[in-house]
Assembly symmetry: D2
Homo-oligomer: 337 residues x 4
């Protein structure tokens, strides 16, 4: 039984992680922490868990969490996460960090995009990126896994193999991505009120979103060739789901069919990537750990479409998948849809 | 041209009032105030108004607002409203108060349900309740109008005539009401985040909502007989609209047809009340100042259904309707759907 | 391994049943039928199942289905279901019927509310009502289970114990119920188009909905005393979930606390009924087999609130729960949230 | 008073046209036709109009409609529209055709994309495209106006001036567009059911949507240079609104600022185009005839964003705007938001 701790248990990724861990036959949640701890249980914070997890939320120090756990899911915001992760690692537990703190390759990149010095520079560039479809070997022996961003997962899964195989040009790529509102987190803000988001659709962070350098960095790291791409996120009035529509130029006369075959071949042993022939919809993957991919061509472009659930394959399901690898379980354990 | 001020212009009722006033042929918005005023225009706060109202938001004192205006729409929260309203009235402008501060008949009732002393006790019980369908005469010569609550409007319009005419029993009435999320206001709170409300339906304030005494008080005032009723509000995942399903016992053998005729007769000269034969839906009245009513009977009950847009007939449309009466315009001026 | 067939596999209850059965450790789906069968697989009909169930949809005769299966989930519309169910039973398979055909006690009641003669009158009144919380003993040895309606489950679970124990009056009960749109089925109709339902809320079938006699019949059957109640369904712009707000009069001075204790006591061994102290929301139970109940009192009324997912505890989850009982598995097998 | 007829009054564009015409001070609806006419009024078909338009729906021949009207809004599907339009024109009324039948320049283009021979080839290429911001002169004296498609309006308004002025390259343009569900019409289909669209986001018609040739054709006609672009539509779970995110390459070193200035200059006398500096959202323009545009640059791309209400500026509001021009009224008459 893997003993798991949840640090920062009040948000949407935390509750989602808890739900999947409760279904997992070999995991047990032994600690849930929050600065808002007031002696009540996780159920009081998340009524959907009533009767399913009678654990008191605690305001534990990192060492205390580490002492109880084999692995800690760290669900804190970026910059807040690294100092805690660092202490948990030093105290001997493994960590899957759901923040962005350990995803980028260099401190310089982090500082450019996150606007502050990295709190744990020594580990930057050391943690494997928690996308088992691409980095399973590096994840296997790690103590710290940098769990991927939701948008990057939806862009990297279709693009990385194609860049690696030279089937698309690495310049001029456009990632036009659309996400449900749970991606914006559970902290009350004007912009995430129901009456602001409902019945509206808009772009945000055009040219400035932090997932853009993450996508570029990881594809470059995996494929050996850094793509030149832009990323435009949009907010969809729905709870969950990301659909990315990606425009790239074929290389060496590659056709949609060849590209589909490349993806099929790359992911033939990846149980959570489904290369489909129909156009994917976020509803097809909602509540599951799947990422559905398809390919079209038109007007000289290759159009890649990918759909995933931002809280599952885009966050907590991916974290459980990484946990399975860290502890030598089958990748799919507890992740049946 | 009626010179209108909007006090507290950042919320949903304020923006809705502004939109209707912009369409009004005889009204001009001459002041918009907010404590958040920072030198920018109303459009910066509400991008939907871009190019339609180039008015700078100001942090004006009540006397300053009064000096510019014939009438002020006060869109502040309860308890915050009365002190401002009081000073505006003293400075010579009329006021339509969209808060609850002047709706109840007595200070005692206010204190019981709002939990604090009334800030302007001398005017309590003096302001007409701004439901022109029932109180047009009192509104006509008033300086201060207490604009009705959204839920109360949906309950009082169908119930008041029936209580007055003795067609239903005044005890054992159940008002089961459902509202879209804009009724919860524009202040960021966990409970009004998109991801909390979307795809969920729940009751709230069961037995404790402040609109219950308002409904009882006003029906009693109008019909001379205070009903005994309970009110249960629910939150619907949509922007706008209230549907109230009301259960009452017929009196003296009254049938659904007699009750429908009574409503038709009462509201034959009320342009915004439509007594319909089909079951009303909030979508039929969204964006309009209509309240649709119908009647059914079943199992010994009379079932009344009423639908309105909580931001229009339930708030800012009603306020414009009252303004028209205050300034001897046709009730419907500027309120075409 | 229980061999399961799905008859009528194109709708929402069928797809939901399939999803839960895929998670079930001891069930295997061996047949899926539809008159729309065209040689393609279940996945082509339900892309969410891609790669999870490679079963060809067939247009099988009832005997053919029965020959393959230990139990058949019959997901056909009422009136269409009974003739098929009858033949499957005659051919030796057990049946869990998700239609309304075997729920009511008498043919007369069926004919009154469904407007046609019952197609299989001999079995009317014989099948246990598939609410294991109340009828587990009768279900255990049955060949045919009448799976409950979604609204009835939400009303019967809170009401039946209270009627049985004499804690509420059996007259004058009001069930004001609200459901998400998946309850309306997957057949294209004007009324269930996105643009008709979205941003709208309305009542329907006031005094005429077929779930009203079902609720009355089952409570009467269970508690020995037929209640006099009315039922008003409403349509909520969301996919899943039912919340019922139920108004009843306490008997013999019963308080909300006594009623809560009665419910706690009745359901202490019912893993899927959670008697909670907070106000339930459909989101708390979405995607789970739970029904959350709570109690309030106000103005001389007892107010019961119940929330469930209409496709899970209100349909296919309940069916799997019944299947577990039929085959002597733990009631909760495969139903972990 | 302009006498207006509505041919095909059961759908969403028809109801939207009726609402705007009811507000118009100089228009009167004198006929509403439908093949579904059964002697009841427009209100019976659209309960939101109760008490606002007591007109009986008729199944009139084109000549009969023409005899009553100065102008007819033809709200029929493509291919069904042209034969009717042709007869109405021949009978002497003006027509604003909301279908696609007269939008494309040539019969060959129509046949390629609509898959059938054009029913009225003689008028193909003759009708002005009803986008007054670009074609007001041609509209002024016309008898037939081809009202633009909703997506094309959102793409042509930002792109046409830039192509004309040589500020962007005319090749490699990507129009990634997202629309609310009302764009899919009011005919019941599986794909437009609430439970299919809600909580889902997907692309459709990738590379095959008929609005792609319309965009290319009109920009070419206006700017003299046919662009090479691809268009990808997506379905958003909301009622109304289109947001298009458009990627183009700047020409001759054009910057975002220069492009914004070009748009400002082009549209300085266009009351319904707002060039804004913030990122537009569909909610900002919902229920209005505005199209909001903005510009960003990133990674060597110019990113244009445009938002409009698909039923207003994308359909019926534009039709009223054209009607105003046809009858020498101010373009904005009756179109105040």
């Amino acid at each position: 039984m893997i003993k798991v701790g949840i640090v920062g248990c009040s948000g949407y990724t935390a509750i989602e992680a808890i739900k999947w861990l409760l279904r997992h036959p070999d995991a047990e949640i032994v600690a849930a922490t929050s600065r808002k701890a007031d002696g009540s249980t996780v159920c009081a914070m998340h009524p959907t868990l009533t009767g399913r997890l009678n654990l008191v939320v605690e305001d534990l120090a990192p060492e205390q969490v580490a002492a109880r756990c084999d692995v800690v899911f760290c669900c804190l915001p970026h910059a807040a996460s690294a100092p805690i992760v660092s202490q948990i690692l030093d105290s001997g537990s493994k960590v899957i960090d759901l923040s962005a703190d350990y995803r980028l390759s260099t401190c310089a990149l982090y500082e450019k995009w996150y606007g502050s010095q990295h709190p744990d520079p020594g580990r930057v560039g050391q943690a494997p990126y928690g996308l088992p479809e691409l980095f399973a070997e590096q994840i296997r022996g790690a103590n710290l896994v940098a769990n991927p961003g939701c948008y990057p997962t939806s862009a990297i899964l279709p693009l990385a193999p194609l860049v690696k195989e030279g089937l698309i040009e690495t310049t001029g790529i456009v990632v036009d991505a659309k996400s449900g509102a749970s991606g914006a987190g559970r902290t009350p803000k004007l912009g995430t009120l129901y009456s602001e988001i409902n019945e509206s659709f808009s772009a945000y962070g055009v040219g400035t979103h932090r997932h853009q350098p993450e996508i570029i960095d990881i594809i470059g790291r995996y494929a050996g060739s850094e793509p030149q791409l832009i990323f435009t996120p949009h907010l969809v009035p729905m709870d969950r789901g990301i659909l990315s529509t990606i425009y790239a130029r074929p290389q060496a006369g590659a056709t949609a069919n060849q590209i589909r075959e490349c993806l099929c071949s790359y992911y033939q042993n990846s149980p959570f990537v489904r290369v489909v022939s129909h156009l994917p919809a976020t509803k097809h993957v909602a509540g599951t750990n799947y990422c559905d991919l398809t390919v079209r061509d038109s007007g000289g472009w290759i159009i890649l479409l990918s759909a995933l659930d931002n809280l599952v394959k885009g966050a907590s399901g991916a974290a459980v998948q990484c946990m399975n690898i860290l502890f030598d379980h089958d990748e799919t354990t507890g992740l049946g849809a």
